[in-house]
């Protein structure tokens, strides 16, 4: 992958991460559980939402009741080419007038009384109001055949008719009927935040520890390097699991524990770099002309280490992202925050496999891999910039 492509991918991800939370209706239930994406199996009915609203003019109340012809109305047409839908519901508010439903076989008045509407084709009062026997399937009566249908709102009010089929959106729905595409886009955020924040903190820690260790030497050096060895041989995931279980599943808890367990590599690199630079002739010259330790550290050693550190950040991000995803997959992430690991956890826990719902499995999994690959290739390129020897082929 070219550096430019990596940067473009990253910019796209950041854009999606920033834009994601602004997506409308965050956790709304949109369609039946595990609806298919709209472009798949075109012979299955899609979930359709019909919306009609008529603002009643102020005058209406003063008009005589015998004047229905003057009231405004709105109609919504629908071409239906499938079997009857799974579920039909009507919600909203009717100020006056009525809600009509025209099918190829006849007309129904779905609601005639003013007030709040919350009707479902499975409700027995609704069936009785329409003159249907309680055990008949109202949806197949409301959708008797293929053809054109019209929903009309005569009078004033605001109604939403939801006709639930087996298809919805770009990526279908998850086990609760939430839009998987929205979840997917909103999930980028967590991966990016955790990956970048944890790695930045870890790099900062590693930089300070490495500099301290390399520059101070002696006992400090020994202590820090022992700590590095010890931390390197503790399995991180169990610690993260316990921390998540005991201290709460918040994102920042995770970031801090993750960074506390991933600064060691950077510290080692920075230390060896500092060691080799500390006794380099030009640093000795600096010292000879009276440069202070802090001046040498901050004006010379850190800038020298910067390109390598940047590469280190990019190369460290995939590890943090994978750790977060693994933790979320185990169900140890905040259930209110959508993330890719969480999506996979829910897919695994709520039977997406047995439903064959690959649209909640493949996108998050491939998404995590793509983010990681992007950062890996960015890191490789930055590493090559920092150390051109790496590009030479043996």
């Amino acid at each position: 992958m070219k550096l430019r492509l990596g940067v473009i991918c990253l910019a796209l991800l950041v854009f999606l991460a920033v834009w994601g939370p602004g997506l409308p209706e965050k956790d709304g239930i949109k369609a039946p559980p595990y609806s298919k994406p709209w472009w798949l199996s075109r012979d299955i009915a899609s979930t359709v939402v019909l919306y009609a609203s008529v603002t009643s003019p102020e005058l209406v109340e003063e008009l005589p009741e015998w004047l229905p012809a003057l009231t405004s109305s709105e109609t919504v047409a629908l071409e239906w080419e499938y079997e009857p839908p799974a579920r039909v519901s009507l919600t909203g508010r009717l100020d006056h007038g009525f809600v009509g439903w025209t099918t190829p076989r006849g007309r129904f008045v779905l609601a005639g009384k003013p007030g709040e509407l919350d009707l479902d084709a499975r409700d027995i009062p609704f069936k009785r109001a329409l003159g249907v026997r309680p055990f008949d399937d109202l949806t197949s009566i409301l959708f008797p055949s293929r053809g054109s249908y019209v929903l009309s709102l005569v009078g004033g009010g605001e109604i939403t008719m939801k006709i639930e089929g087996g298809r919805w959106g770009w990526l279908g729905t998850d086990h609760r009927g939430r839009d998987a595409a929205v979840l997917f886009i909103r999930g980028i955020r967590v991966s990016l935040i955790v990956g970048i924040a944890a790695t930045l903190i870890a790099t900062f820690l590693g930089l300070s520890m490495g500099l301290l260790s390399g520059y101070a030497g002696g006992l400090t050096d020994t202590l820090i390097m022992r700590a590095v060895d010890v931390l390197l041989s503790i399995p991180t995931l169990p610690v993260l699991m316990i921390a998540a279980g005991m201290w709460g599943k918040g994102l920042w808890n995770l970031v801090f524990v993750l960074s506390a367990f991933s600064w060691m590599g950077t510290a080692r690199t920075v230390r060896s770099m500092t060691l080799s630079l500390r006794d380099a002739p030009w640093v000795e010259n600096l010292r000879a002309i009276g440069a202070r330790r802090n001046y040498i550290l901050f004006r010379h050693l850190i800038p020298e280490a910067m390109p390598l550190l940047l590469a280190n950040v990019a190369l460290g991000v995939p590890g943090a992202i994978l750790a977060e995803a693994g933790l979320a997959f185990l169900g140890l992430s905040d259930p209110r925050v959508p993330s890719w690991g969480r999506m996979l956890h829910e897919a695994y826990a709520f039977g997406a496999f047995t439903s064959g719902a690959w649209w909640v499995i493949l996108p998050p999994g491939l998404g995590i891999s793509m983010i990681c690959l992007t950062f890996m290739s960015l890191g490789r390129k930055l590493e090559e910039r920092a150390d051109p020897r790496l590009t030479q082929k043996n």
Partner: protein, 322 residues
Amino acid sequence: MNAFLKRVGGSIAVLAVVLALNFFIFRIMPGDPLTGIMDPRFSPEAKQQLAEQWGLDKPMAEQFVVYIKEMLSFRFGLSMMTGQPVWDELRSRAANTAALLFPALLLSAALGIWLGVKAALNRGSKTERLVLTSGAVSFSFPSFFVQLLLLLCFAYLWPLFPLRGTSSVPPPAGGVKAFFDYLWHLTLPLFSLVFLSFGGWALYVRNMMVKALGEDYVLMARARGLSHRRVVWNHAFRSILPPVLTLLLLALPGVVSGAVITETVFSLHGAGRFLLEAINSHDYPSAGAAFFLLALLTVGCNLLADLLYVLVDPRVRREGAH
């Protein structure tokens, strides 16, 4: 002997840190450990009694000493989930985890080393491309995702392997049958672990081997007319063996972490899944014990790898001699 003692000292340090971490992670959580398991209507006296029973009324330092003693003698207390001693619950599970981990580690290392050496010998070949791709896969694909896909393909769509568990229910009678049943259940998890981790090994070994093959002593060995196999394995590979062992050391914690996820995906009867279940049901003694055991497993392997290191690297041996 000196070098050996140093390594043992390192392992003890790791264990000490793990123990301390394990102690404090459960003590500095928000809230009182008792309120979680106690009915709020309990009287303060009852609470006091419970605190005494668990030794929570004693000063922190004393609790710590008692805790260390209990951990080191494997007395983990009673599980809050089942009421059984935690050690009884963990014993069989830890054996299953080890039975999954060691073969996975050895197989992936062997496969990775073989492929890595092959890739270094034939640069630009298909093997090298395979190594590069699998290396990228192992660093960037979430393990559970790949395992879920494997499970979907080979256990659900094409039921070659069982969907879950470590043995059939009910387990088949007869030692040999039960053993093969066990193997059959472990095959897919094992394969997935090897599949996920051999790439990292191969990539690493390839990079080291490419460097080693360019060294003068390899040229010298070739000039001496040694066989190709001998040059590659006894000269070039022999020289990169110590860093490869270091990699083994560094890979271990990751493998243990991977085992937790693997056991969850395949619903195996192992210490990792036990840890997850304990955390989910706020069973602190079990969670602490499972973590301690997983860390112990890592430290044990580390020590083993360290010992091998002493055998493999003559410089360490010499340092130990004087």
